[in-house]
Amino acid sequence: MNAVITFVDVVKRFGSQVVLDKVNVEFSRGKTTVIAGGSGQGKSVSLKLILGLMQPDSGQILVDGVDISRLGRKKLNQVRSQFGVLFQGGALLDSMTVWENVALPLTERTTFARDEVERRVAQALVQFDLVGHELKFPAQLSGGMQKRVGLARALMLQPSIMLFDEPTTGLDPQITMDIYRLFFKTQKELGYSSIIVSHDIPKVFNLADEVIILSNGSMLKFYSPEDIQHSTDPEVMEFASKTMGQVYHSSVEMMAV
């Protein structure tokens, strides 16, 4: 099966507003798919539907062929165990230290002995350049550092699917590059499929194998930024005219990563 996640006739409404209207789309296994679109077009809603944090009004969301929109909590948790998520603000538990946040998936979801947990957390802290910050609380960290802790935590159980919700929002260009560097490195090591929701259009398109553009309740899939520029859909054309000019300039910068 080539698709890791499939939307089948997915409809999601909020009151009279239709966010997703009979959407059919596939997210390819082992690839990086970027979901882009204007604000309020349903980017974060799509991510929440994939994670089972929201249910569609109708249609199916298949993760490895399993419809998660109809699953009970136990089975949904089994599906979720293959996900890693980097939230927009990091979503670190603020009553816990960096060490405890990174260790959380291991202490809660595995039966590893304390020594093994300590070994793996120490390894992750080195990999994500967090040594010396173990005992700090999230409120004491910069935005970039919070994202690194969030990424370390998301990757602790070696997920097969990684979801990134606006991974570089609010970060300065240098830290944005650091986050992308970590993304490249970990994806190469772990080989996960990734879905990135972002409005950091110039840079994030250079990471993408596939691009999905949300427009008026539908998802339009493209295989390269050039495909987007050649689209005849008026919404996509408008989107392209606003954003695509910068893509090729940023690609030079991304090559350096």
Binding site: L53, R73, Q78, F87, G89, A91, L93, R109
Partner: protein
């Protein structure tokens, strides 16, 4: 105009049905979380410290002065009918059956309940509950249920301390300051307070503990879904105020109903 009125009324009724349903399911999930493994004993102890131990100075202060005022008021009222000797009974029964459970619960609502609501509201806004769910960690077992257990342990114990300190406060104002016979004061307590009175006080304190944690934690957890709640710091502060007001009203309503049923 009629159509708009009906639409608004219908939406309001539906919202309240939904809200009660949410809160009902929240209570069931929190109850289930108390019995799910692995138990978070350490987190529960931490919550007992936050909810119980940290409220202790306030409870002692309020309890002592409530007892003193009861002693003072009771003394001058009873002196009119020449019954100062039953001052101990009056102070003890007032505290054990009514004031102890009610005032303790109101104090815990203001101090720990509001903090609980704000904490959970901020966690909701910063997607910490979503993060837990995505890691396949049940937020009820992990976060909410330890708060439920800790409140159910702390409030009855604080009520007990409130009562003891309050009786001592009554002793200070009645016996030491107004010279009521100490033997009569103590004898009034021993002869006047029955196990049924103590049982009523205990039942009330458990019921109020449940109300405090249910409403405060529930409003915080559902901060995003509450009408007039909304997002951001203002939304959290509004819902926290709402939680404290609702809990206080619920405590006083339940106090009357429990007294009417159990007396």
């Amino acid at each position: 105009m009629i159509h708009a009125f009906l639409q608004k009324s219908g939406a309001s009724v539906l919202y309240h049905i939904q809200d009660w349903g949410r809160m009902g399911l929240f209570l069931i999930a929190a109850g289930r979380g108390c019995f799910s493994r692995p138990f978070r004993f350490r987190e529960m102890v931490r919550q007992v410290r936050l909810i119980g131990l940290n409220s202790l100075p306030l409870i002692i202060f309020i309890g002592f002065f409530t007892g003193m005022v009861l002693g003072l008021q009771g003394y001058y009222t009873l002196r009119r009918v020449g019954s100062e000797s039953i001052l101990g009974m009056l102070v003890a029964l007032s505290l054990i059956k009514e004031l102890g459970p009610v005032l303790t619960a109101l104090m815990v609502t203001g101090r720990a309940g509001s903090a609980m609501c704000a904490e959970l509201g901020i966690m909701r806004h910063s997607e910490q509950f979503d993060a837990l769910e995505c890691m396949a960690i049940d937020p009820f077992r992990y976060l909410i249920s330890p708060k439920f257990l800790a409140t159910l342990i702390s409030v009855p114990l604080l009520t007990l301390i409130f009562n003891v300190v309050g009786i001592f406060g009554g002793y200070v104002s009645g016996v030491i300051l107004l010279e009521v016979n100490p033997g009569a004061y103590m004898n009034g307590i021993v002869s006047g307070v029955t196990s049924a009175d103590i049982n009523l006080g205990i039942k009330k304190s458990y019921a109020f503990a449940l109300l405090v944690v249910w409403i405060c934690a529930g409003r915080g957890y559902f901060v995003h879904a509450i009408k007039n709640g909304g997002f951001g710091a203002e939304g959290v502060s509004r819902v926290t105020t709402q939680a404290v007001v609702y809990t206080s009203i619920a405590i006083l309503l339940w106090d009357y109903m429990l007294t009417a049923v159990l007396i």
